[in-house]
Structures are given as structure tokens and as C-alpha cells.
């Protein structure tokens, strides 16, 4: 039960960051940012660069980051630690363990294996060993099931694959979603409007693996234009990225449609028209900027949704990305692989959300003002 208490305490601490006063938030945020940057640099470029980079990073953060971003840093770094702990706990509570296989393992052999891989029987001890490994030795640890490989070695080739797939899918969903949504909103209740909203409804309603399977049959088996599955050239990327982008594209289309309808009724648009600006200028320079604000704030959840979808799409198209390692690791109880992929995914989400926050502050003056 002590683990559950620790978990609750962690959650309470996390919530308590809401009471943190602005000055302290600023200070803590910069320190944590510098710390993370320092640890990352130390293991990639050496100790001296790490210390220097950490200090410079903290200083830069203190000077230029808006309070909104620092508040997020104060929250997210402890959240990452909590995530590692919660994942450990859930894996230990799951029946079975990484050393159980068809042949019965003798207790002595199991004990030796547990010592070798640093997987004690107690979740708290494992967490301690894992955090020490992460912060002091700078490694994600050996994989328990894939003999003789560390988790970094497994993830390193998979990371660019998942990243390029995810980024392409996100870009596609923004392009499709914005185009359809803005067109539909400008020509409200026209055939184009009904068509794009119908497409959006289909995108929301069909799971991505059904869309993917249909694409696969049509474009690979019937027409023979694209390879069925696998990885290698850019042509392998097209179908998975498209299948992955549709659900988010549909949401973005709906958001930008209602966004542009609302903006077009506002006074500054009427003023711009009254000044005699051409309609394309009114829309492109004035209306669009306001209409994409809800879309930008959806990008964080969209990234998470695309990651969720990528588990399924990677399995469907046999893409050698991180999603496969996570699913495989979870089923095989390969604790270090599950934790390693979870950290990388969560790190991606954090970095992406910080970028979204910065973009948001740039687009919306009301957020930028809150710096002091």
C-alpha cells in the first residue's frame, strides 16, 4: 500500500504547484529547465558542456520565457518523474514478470537474473535503481527480453521513424483540416460546406485502422501504386501518414470552420472591409489569424491523439517505430523497454506542448502580456 500512498502524494504535490507564487514559479522553472538541459547535454557531449549548457539554459529561460511557459515547466518535470513511478507501479501490479517463461525458472536462477538486470521484486526499489541509472549513468538500461541490447539501441533506429511519421501526419492534418474548415466556413451552407463537414464526420467516425486497411487494399493490392507495408522509401510513408492524419484533420476542420464563422462577424473585419481592402487581404491578414487560435490550442491534444493512433497504424503497416516496441514490451513485460518508450513519447509531448505555448503567445497578444 505504501506505493499507492507515494503515488497520491506525488499527485497532490503536482496539484500544489498551482499555489506556487509567480516569483517562485519563475525561479523553479528556470532551475528545472537548466537541470534537464544539463543532464541531457552531459550524457551526449560531456560533463563540462553539461554544466555550462545547464547554466546558460537557465539564464536564457529566466530572461526570455513567458511565465506561461515556465509554469508549465514547473509542472511537467515533476510530472515526468511521477509518470515513471506510476508506470513502474502498474507494471509491477500486472500479473507475470519478465523472467517467467514456459520452462519453470528455478528461484536461484531468477534471483541471479533479477540482480543482473536490476529488477528487484519490489517496485520502489526498481524505481530507485531506474532513476539512479537515468540521472547518474545516463542510460535507459538493458532490455530484458532482447538479449545484449540496451533500450537506447532499440529506440534509436525507431525514433526517427515514428517522429517523421507523426510530424508528417500532423502537417497533413493541419493542411487538410484548415483548408476544408476555412472553405466550409467562408461558404457556409453551400455544397462545399456540406461536403467538407461530411468528410469530417467520416474522419471522426472511422477508426484509423479501418481507413488504413481500405487504403491498403485500394492503392496497393488493386492499383499497385504503393507498397503494401514496411519501411524504406518515402512511398512507404504515404498511406500510414494519411490514415493517421484523418481523425485529427476532421477535428481541425470543425474547429477552424466555427472559428472563421465567428471571426468574420467581428467588428475589425467590418472595419477592414470598410477601409476598402480586397477580400483576400481581409481574410488572409485579419480573419485567418483569429480563426487559427483554437486550432493552435488543439495541436497539443492532436499530437497525443496521433501518438495513440500511431500504435495501431504502425502495427497495421508493419512500420518499425516506437509504438511497436511499446506494445511488444508491454505484452512481454519488458519493464525497461516500456519505461524507455514512455519517457521518449512523453518527452516529445512536453517539447511539442512548449512549442505550442510559444506559438500561442506569439499569436495571441493577451497571453504575451502576462510576462511579468
Amino acid at each position: 500500500m505504501s506505493e499507492a500512498l507515494t503515488l497520491l502524494l506525488g499527485l497532490a504535490l503536482l496539484a500544489a504547484t498551482a499555489w506556487c507564487p509567480p516569483r517562485l514559479t519563475r525561479l523553479l522553472g528556470c532551475l528545472l529547465f537548466g537541470l534537464v538541459l544539463g543532464v541531457l547535454l552531459r550524457f551526449s557531449l560531456g560533463a563540462a558542456v553539461g554544466v555550462l549548457g545547464g547554466l546558460i539554459g537557465a539564464g536564457v529561460a529566466y530572461r526570455i520565457f513567458p511565465l506561461l511557459v515556465l509554469r508549465r515547466v514547473v509542472f511537467l518535470v515533476p510530472a515526468l518523474v511521477l509518470l515513471i513511478f506510476a508506470t513502474t507501479l502498474l507494471m509491477y501490479k500486472a500479473p507475470g514478470n519478465p523472467f517467467a517463461n514456459e520452462r519453470a525458472t528455478s528461484p536461484q536462477v531468477e534471483a541471479a537474473l533479477r540482480a543482473q538486470y536490476g529488477v528487484p521484486k519490489n517496485a520502489n526499489q526498481f524505481f530507485a535503481i531506474y532513476m539512479r541509472r537515468l540521472l547518474v549513468e545516463g542510460t535507459l538500461g538493458p532490455s530484458i527480453k532482447v538479449q545484449g541490447r540496451t533500450v537506447e539501441e532499440l529506440i534509436a533506429p525507431a525514433f526517427p521513424v515514428s517522429l517523421s511519421l507523426g510530424l508528417l501526419a500532423l502537417t497533413l492534418s493541419v493542411i487538410f483540416g484548415l483548408t476544408l474548415g476555412v472553405l466550409a466556413g467562408l461558404k457556409r451552407n453551400s455544397a462545399a460546406d456540406y461536403l467538407s463537414m461530411g468528410l469530417a464526420l467520416i474522419g471522426i467516425s472511422l477508426p484509423s485502422f479501418v481507413i488504413g486497411a481500405v487504403l491498403m487494399i485500394v492503392f496497393s493490392l488493386w492499383l499497385g501504386w504503393l507498397p503494401v507495408a514496411g519501411w524504406g522509401s518515402y512511398r512507404h510513408l504515404i498511406m500510414p501518414a494519411f490514415a493517421l492524419s484523418l481523425p485529427s484533420a476532421a477535428v481541425i476542420a470543425r474547429l477552424s470552420r466555427s472559428g472563421i464563422i465567428e471571426v468574420m462577424q467581428q467588428d475589425f473585419v467590418r472595419t477592414a472591409r470598410a477601409k476598402g481592402l480586397p477580400e483576400s487581404w481581409v481574410i488572409g491578414r485579419h480573419a485567418l489569424r483569429g480563426a487559427i487560435i483554437p486550432v493552435v490550442s488543439y495541436l497539443g491534444p492532436a499530437a497525443a491523439a496521433i501518438m495513440t493512433g500511431s500504435f495501431v497504424v504502425e502495427v497495421l503497416f508493419a512500420v518499425p517505430g516506437m509504438g511497436q516496441w511499446f506494445v511488444k514490451g508491454a505484452i512481454n513485460r519488458d519493464y525497461s523497454v516500456v519505461l524507455g518508450t514512455a519517457i521518449v513519447y512523453f518527452g516529445l509531448v512536453i517539447v511539442f506542448n512548449l512549442l505550442v505555448d510559444l506559438a500561442y503567445a506569439w499569436l495571441d497578444p493577451r497571453v504575451r502580456e502576462e510576462r511579468a
Partner: protein, 291 residues
């Protein structure tokens, strides 16, 4: 029920009339009830067995004997689609119930007390909103993986516990504005307790919004369950599992299209009609939030 002539109509009567005029929503409701009736009643009435194998009749295309064809073990696909639909619909409803329960109480408390309590509670929601929740679902499913064959409670919990965030946000926003209105102040002055004000005075005003978003949540839960089944982590025969079986036999030599098409069509139609109903309800009950 007031007729067309009655001059005064309650807000719910007005909303109902708006809903009935929405053709998409009515068609969705009809299709969904038909689908539910078929999936729930037919297997019971006809005593159909989805795992009855007939090795001689493997991989038959649709015919008058087997309407949807048979699979690789000679099982009747029609029966399997019906029984799978029962699971998918049940998972959709039960998990939504779990997440409505959690989301509404969480959001109501946050909105009612406001201030720092609200900020702290919503911070956790924001945090979980950014997580790829598939992690949590997969990990929670693993906890029950051994004894859970056929037991669906873990699925309800796992899916329900990651889906409540939107509901919490929406309810919180509504409660936050209602909180400042005169009727709440009046109830406070009369000495009503916080719990009574929340349950008797505030929440009834939010019911419409809750119904709308609960309806829209059902399809996303069904999709999530189909993801799990697709990854081999489901616990019972469902549409997701059938689609995944259909995908597994895609090959360039022989086409077993019926194995993929029927479950996909049933799944897609159900999700479409649920979304139609949800959008219709939103336009009828919550005209401001039209997207």
C-alpha cells in the same frame, strides 16, 4: 407533451422539436436502435453460437446459407458480427457511464469551489489531456490480463478512466458560470448545504450538456476498444477484433473481402449514427456550441 398548437413549451419540448426536425439525427437514432435490437436480441432468440466451428465450410463467401460468409475456422460471420456488436455497444455504454460519473463529479466540484482548488484540479486534467492515453489503457489492461478473459469490467474501467477529461472540463465551465447566478445565492441564503445546492440546483441545469457530450463520447470509446482488440489486448469478441481478423488475411493472392467488409461496415455505421445523434442533440440542446 404539448402539441404544435400549445403556445407555451418547456425548453426540453423545444429541444425535442428541434431534434426531430434534424433528419440526420433521426436517421441515426433509427439505425442505431435497429442495430442494437439485432445485436442484443437475435443471438439470444436464435440461440446462435459465435464459436461453433465447421471445418468443412471454411472461408465461404456470402451465400443464402451464410449471409456474411464464414471465416478461416468455418464459423458463421453473421453470428460473429452480431455477438461482436453486443460487446462493442456494451463497452461503449458502460465505459461512458464510468467516465460521466467521474467527469461530472470532478468538474462540478472544481467549478463549484473555483479559485485555487479549481486551478489545481484543472491542472491535473490539462496534464492528463496531453498524455498519449493509450499508454494508460494498455497498462491498466495488463493488470487484468490473466484472469480477465471474458470479464469486461477492466475494459470499462480502463476506457472510462481515460475518457472523463473532456466531460470534466465542460461541466466545470458550466458550473463556474451558474455558480454566480442569483438562484444559487438564494439557495445559499436559505441555508442549503453545498452538496444540496450542487445536486438540486446547479447540476439539473447542466444535464443537457452532459447528455450531448456523453453521446459523443460513446463512439470514441468504441473506437478505443477496437484499437485495443486490434493490438491483441481485447478481452472479448468485438467488432474491433473481427476487423483485425479481416486485416490479418489481406493478401495479394486470394481475397477474403467479407471478413473485413462486414465488421467494418457495422462498426462504421454505428459510429456514424452515434455522431449524427450527438451532433443533433448538441444543436438542439446547446445551440451556442454549434461547430
Amino acid at each position: 407533451m404539448g402539441g404544435h398548437e400549445s403556445p407555451i413549451q418547456s425548453p426540453f419540448q423545444l429541444a425535442f422539436r428541434r431534434l426531430v426536425r434534424n433528419r440526420g439525427a433521426v436517421a441515426g437514432a433509427l439505425l442505431l436502435s435497429l442495430m442494437t435490437l439485432a445485436c442484443v436480441l437475435l443471438p439470444l432468440l436464435l440461440k446462435l453460437d459465435p464459436s461453433h466451428t465447421q471445418p468443412v465450410l471454411r472461408n465461404l463467401p456470402p451465400s443464402s446459407q451464410f449471409w456474411f460468409g464464414t471465416d478461416g475456422l468455418g464459423r458463421d460471420l453473421f453470428v460473429r458480427v452480431l455477438v461482436g456488436g453486443r460487446t462493442s455497444l456494451l463497452v461503449g455504454l458502460a465505459s461512458t457511464a464510468v467516465s460521466v460519473l467521474v467527469g461530472v463529479s470532478y468538474g462540478a466540484v472544481a467549478g463549484f469551489y473555483g479559485g485555487k482548488v479549481d486551478e489545481a484540479m484543472m491542472r491535473l486534467v490539462d496534464f492528463m489531456y496531453g498524455l498519449p492515453y493509450m499508454f494508460l489503457v494498455i497498462l491498466i489492461m495488463l493488470m487484468f490480463s490473466e484472469k480477465a478473459r471474458g470479464d469486461m469490467l477492466p475494459v470499462f474501467l480502463a476506457l472510462g478512466l481515460v475518457q472523463w477529461l473532456t466531460m470534466a472540463r465542460i461541466v466545470r465551465g458550466q458550473v463556474l458560470t451558474l455558480r454566480r447566478q442569483e438562484f444559487v445565492l438564494a439557495a445559499e441564503l436559505l441555508g442549503a448545504s453545498d452538496a444540496r445546492i450542487l445536486v438540486r440546483h446547479v447540476l439539473p441545469n447542466v444535464i443537457g450538456v452532459i447528455v450531448v457530450y456523453a453521446t459523443l463520447m460513446v463512439p470514441s470509446v468504441i473506437i478505443l476498444e477496437s484499437f485495443l482488440s486490434f493490438l491483441g489486448l481485447g478481452v472479448a469478441l468485438s467488432w474491433g477484433q473481427l476487423v483485425s481478423d479481416g486485416v490479418a488475411v489481406i493478401n495479394p493472392v486470394r481475397s477474403y473481402w467479407w471478413l473485413l467488409v462486414w465488421p467494418s461496415v457495422f462498426l462504421g455505421l454505428t459510429l456514424l449514427s452515434l455522431n449524427f445523434i450527438g451532433d443533433g442533440l448538441r444543436d438542439a440542446l446547446d445551440p451556442k456550441a454549434r461547430t
